[in-house]
Symmetry: C2
Subunit: 370 residues, 2 copies
């Protein structure tokens, strides 16, 4: 596959491959502004300021950063090329130390640099390989998202009403996103979905990011407050719920943005299928179940005052701000990964998937596994 | 009962009975400001601007307005007294034409004026009676709320964690409120509750009003986003849910603030009792079930931009803003009224309550009816 860049891609290479163009996500949804970046300091700032965000998206961005920098150093002697690129990689890593995909992508590029130089390639040839690697990282993510989108779309019908929660779209990953993938791919194939998007308090990823992505893709979207999902389901407007995921335990319990478990309970009450979408790599068999997942607690001011003209809860009252919750596996209809659709009983089907992988090492393209 | 006014009462008479003192609810929760009102134009503005709000509270306010005005006219000849007060009442009614309690209270005072004058009382005596009537309207509401609070408190235990949604407190009614009554009364009796309050998007009645009332009453309160209730319940922090109600159908289906039905479904999932609290008069046997209740749709800008520094959903995306939803009777543990606690099966127990009332005409003080 060769990437054809689109102006809705959150991260893309400029035509001359001398710079990276990103959507400045801090300005969304009020303004769509692009940043064209070719300097180390600006790369660092883009990650730090959340202009580029979402774990996979940061990885893609970092891959390109290393490629652009390598290109700028390609006239240098080999030892200087190597030491400059290593120092730059270290600096980039420090922009957001907890972002695993960031250090993963930087390391992937530095490993390639080391192996290329030590195998006798020139600095120029090495820089070219690093550029190809950046494109490969991006392509891999697009392919992964596209496979999720394909599997997900197979479960939906034209005309369906779909509820989404938080943002599991292209802005956090690449082209198709995870949770939104079936909708974006479906749109390309002429499907008409009526999407409803939970605004997703307190950080409003649904209202700000998901709604932006869907409207830009030409998909009919209606933003609702999180507490309106039950009414919509009762009115018969929702045929399926699609959400992303942060971590999936061995028994299928799934950690995702706060509010996900409530949506799942309400969907079950009304008999509406509830689908979790995410890369196969999100399954963590080292985590036996949801109880083993610690809930991150965030700043109360995100509830009390963030975005508002003035604080909306009185002084002296506490605000409790958990970042995510765990949806019990019993509430999940299916987990849709880039390797296939995993169905209950999850403990068995997930174990089976992992065993197959361990024993054969081959890529699986099963559908409706178990 | 004689009213002892408190500075937390949303509406109260001044000590000299020449003016009404109200909490300016438009300034909450940032500032607690009082307005002292004795002029017709200011009375009109207080209702129009929502400085005083909540159906019962507006009724109480209007009762006092008529009494203050009658007092100011007590040196006038009878015919002028009557015509001035009638004109003033009409003007007050026009401040918020849909507020049933407003016109109800004005009419109650004008009827008393008519009967007093026609039975030969002087203007001065009539004005005194109208003042007593205003106090009676207020006392009746306090007593009604206190009975609900007593019945509700009988279902709770010291140390309980309680979830509330929207505002069914004193600010909308009088002293004890409806949904918050058991908590406020419990506090007076030395109970310690840990209250969690849904912020209640989009109008944030929970964060702005309920949290304000509870903190002022010295009750421990923690504001959460609406989508966090499921996690709290899973964590074992909630022993009961208390909500108010707008209308209760003959089968027990209950219309209340948007989001209530979702909370009820999630509470049922976790096996947590879900209590609806409201005046007996909220039961409307002319409405067979929830399907007969039309859902009011409000301005989408309340979701997109209200309170915010800038719009949080992109242009071109729709926002759907239903004002309330209907909680199915199967999700309700009990309906707590000023006449007693009504339990399932609701269709039978509600019919029985109405029949008893019709046949005997006596006040009921049953508990755990049916």
């Amino acid at each position: 596959m060769a990437i054809r860049y689109k102006d809705t891609d959150p991260v893309r290479l400029s035509k001359d491959k001398h710079s990276i163009i990103i959507i400045d996500q801090t300005k969304l949804p009020s303004k769509v502004e692009y940043l064209e970046i070719d300097k180390l300091d600006d790369m660092y700032d883009a990650i730090k300021s959340l202009a580029v965000r979402g774990a996979p998206c940061i990885g893609i961005f970092a891959g390109y950063c290393m490629a652009i920098l390598a290109r700028q150093y390609k006239k240098l002697p080999a030892d200087e090329f190597v030491s400059r690129l290593k120092a730059d990689g270290e600096h980039l890593n420090s922009s957001r130390p907890t972002a695993v995909n960031l250090s993963w992508a930087v390391k992937r590029q530095l490993d390639l640099m080391d192996s290329s130089i030590s195998s006798g390639l020139t600095v120029d040839q090495t820089a070219t390989r690093i550029m190809s690697e950046a494109v490969a990282i991006h392509e891999e993510d697009i392919m992964m998202c596209m496979r999720i989108a394909e599997f997900g779309l197979s479960l939906l019908n034209d005309g369906d009403g779909i509820l989404t929660h938080c943002n599991a779209g292209a802005l956090a990953t690449s082209r198709y996103g995870t949770g939104l993938g079936p909708l974006l791919l479906g749109r390309e194939r002429g499907y008409h979905f009526h999407v409803y998007t939970d605004e997703t308090r307190p950080l409003l990823q649904g209202a700000r990011l998901t709604a932006f992505e869907l409207v830009h893709a030409g998909i009919e979207d209606t933003v609702i407050c999180d507490n309106m999902a039950s009414l919509l389901m009762k009115q018969g407007k929702i045929q399926a719920v699609l959400v992303g995921c942060d971590r999936i335990a061995a028994n299928g319990d799934t950690a995702n943005k706060i509010g996900t478990s409530g949506v799942a309970i309400i969907a079950k009450h009304y008999g509406i299928p509830f689908y979790v979408l995410g890369p196969y790599s999100t399954i963590d068999v080292g985590t036996p179940d949801g109880d083993a997942i610690e809930i991150e607690e965030r700043d109360p001011e995100e509830i009390r005052s963030m975005w508002y003209e003035r604080p909306m809860a009185p002084k002296g009252v506490k605000c409790y701000n958990p970042a995510f919750d765990v949806t019990d596996h019993s509430l999940i209809t299916a987990i849709i990964t880039d390797k296939g659709i995993i169905k209950p009983p999850f403990e068995r089907s997930i174990a089976q998937v992992m065993n197959i992988k361990k024993s054969s090492g081959r890529t699986m393209h099963f559908r409706r596994f178990s």
